[in-house]
């Protein structure tokens, strides 16, 4: 665990047991164990949790390219081909373009067998798109480039590559959704609330972008499940719904809290899935709109229903 002020001792990044490896100045990998506490109804890691991983991997890949500037996530997507069921799940990020005002990264999402060591052994770890594991999804991320300021955060471009670190072992003793204290206010409207506490802060002291994506996932799921409750026919063979895709646009930081989610557009389909557009607002900052997320929801197939 690096001796830095961020993340604090009690923080979601530590509880997820994330391990990061930076093999080069423009690539990075981040892994988490696929435990039940971060899983959705299909047993795979929730797309919102994958958003946390994607954000972290892309940030680690980008930071050296941006030197001396810093960054803020502008948009992020996760699309899954099938559930990310592990035993570990890895996000592999590579910088595609570094422009004057933005940086774009591509992130592959893979099921892998386990951690690469403790601490992570970068030299022994596989590298590049040909490395071990089975790809289950893809992510993209755009960073807004924040011009360097005196005293601001920065990582020299040639420092410590390759390097790896761990935020600690997975420390969740309950589902992550409970740990971030999400409360459902109105399921049909997708209205959820989450307190903005240091546990979910980013390095700016605002809401961590991946956590915002997770809140949006839960809002979209709740709204679509409510909307499909009366649509699915009696003969349909569907289980609980899961989100399999997120498209996140970050408009402003959530700084005060609580953060509230609502789903102004819900499109339910007879198969038990659907789409939702979720808006996140910072209630303590005059209900300022901070994030807009398109959520793709699918029904699961219950055990025993497969041929």
């Amino acid at each position: 665990v690096p001796a830095t002020a961020y993340p604090p001792p009690d923080h979601i990044l530590r509880d997820l047991g994330i391990r990061v490896e930076v093999p080069s100045a423009t690539t990075a990998r981040a892994r988490i164990p696929a435990t039940d506490h971060v899983a959705g109804a299909d047993g795979g890691v929730r797309v919102g949790v994958l958003a946390v991983l994607v954000d972290l991997a892309a940030g680690a890949a980008a930071v050296r390219s941006l030197h001396p500037d810093w960054m803020a996530t502008a948009d992020l997507t996760v699309q899954l081909a099938r559930p990310a069921s592990g035993p570990w799940v890895e996000a592999r990020a590579a910088v595609l373009r570094r422009g004057r005002t933005t940086l774009v990264a591509e992130i592959g999402i893979f099921d892998v067998d386990g951690p690469t060591g403790d601490p992570p052994d970068v030299a022994a770890a596989p590298a590049g798109p040909e490395s071990a594991g089975e790809q289950v999804g893809i992510g993209t991320l755009t960073m807004a480039v924040l011009p360097a300021r005196p005293g601001g955060m920065r990582v020299p471009p040639d420092r410590d590559v390759p390097v790896g670190w761990s935020f600690g072992d997975a420390g969740l003793t309950r589902p992550l959704v409970d740990a971030i204290d999400v409360r459902v206010l109105d399921p049909k409207a997708g209205r959820l609330s989450m307190p903005l506490v240091p546990y979910v802060h980013n390095s700016f002291g605002a809401a961590q972008g991946g956590v915002m994506a997770l809140l949006a996932e839960l809002s979209g799921l709740t709204a679509v499940e409510s909307a499909t409750a009366g649509l699915v026919g009696p003969d349909a063979v569907t289980g609980p719904a899961v989100a399999r895709g997120l498209q996140v646009a970050y408009l402003a930081l959530g700084r005060v809290g609580p953060v509230t989610a609502r789903a102004p557009l819900v499109i339910a389909t007879p198969d038990g899935g659907g789409r939702a557009v979720v808006e996140l607002a910072d209630e303590g900052a005059g209900d300022r709109l901070t994030t807009v997320v398109n959520v793709d929801v699918a029904a699961t197939v219950p055990a025993g229903a497969l041929p």
Partner: protein, 281 residues
Amino acid sequence: VTVDPLDPLEPPAVDRRRHVADYFRIERWEPPDETATGPLTMEGRTPIDPHHRGPGGGLRTGALLTVVDTLGGLMSGLAVQPGWTVTTSMMATVAELSHRGPLRVTGRVLRQGRNSVVSALQVVDEGMGDRPVAATTMTCAVLDPAGMALDFERPLVFPMPPPTGDERTVEDFFCIEPGEGPVTRLRLEDRLRNPWGILHGGALAVLADEAACRVASPAGRTVAAADTVLHYLHPARTGPVEARATEIGRDGGRSLVRVGVHDAGADDRLVMLASVSVVAV
């Protein structure tokens, strides 16, 4: 394949500001009460003529994104005048692939910054009682338009263009070569360039859609692109333009496909990255 980007067979008198909008017959207007501070909302409509329909029975997703981009790009540009914009990313979730039409697009600017404009645009099927079709979010980078004249009479109203007589399919209109397999090529004809002289973003959207469908459609399976993410990384200027598709995985009747689009004539530069979910129809 070698194609002169200034193909002499192409008519030179194409109005690059209207050519694509005329083909799809896109009607666009802004509410009259919002012109004082820049348009926060804008609306548009496209009729879906028979030659526009794709494998899902409606406007194929690449074409839908072209229509959305045509409206959203104009809205974003007007929001930052005297500057202008270029689209850098589009994120679309598409719930309905079969449309009766016309489709109506409603856009609003979510965030207007110094360097970028973020907009949300939703699409409904007017012929199906305003049934929701898709929700999209797009980001545009703010540009200095240099010497380009960008004067508009406000509030802006572009009526629906009459049929042009051009009844090519969407793929033919955008010069996508017939074929199958993981590589799909587009001839960069001069009429496909936008006012900046680069390949129109809509052409790249349709190319990514077609490439994803080809790699995810084994024999006997009819498929269509649904949820799509596009990142425009560099302008495509030279051509030919080549889309290389890889199927990441398949679950039931749905595939997830990565498409990298390269400008083969410009050192094979990666000009766009797309991720597309493809569904059986």
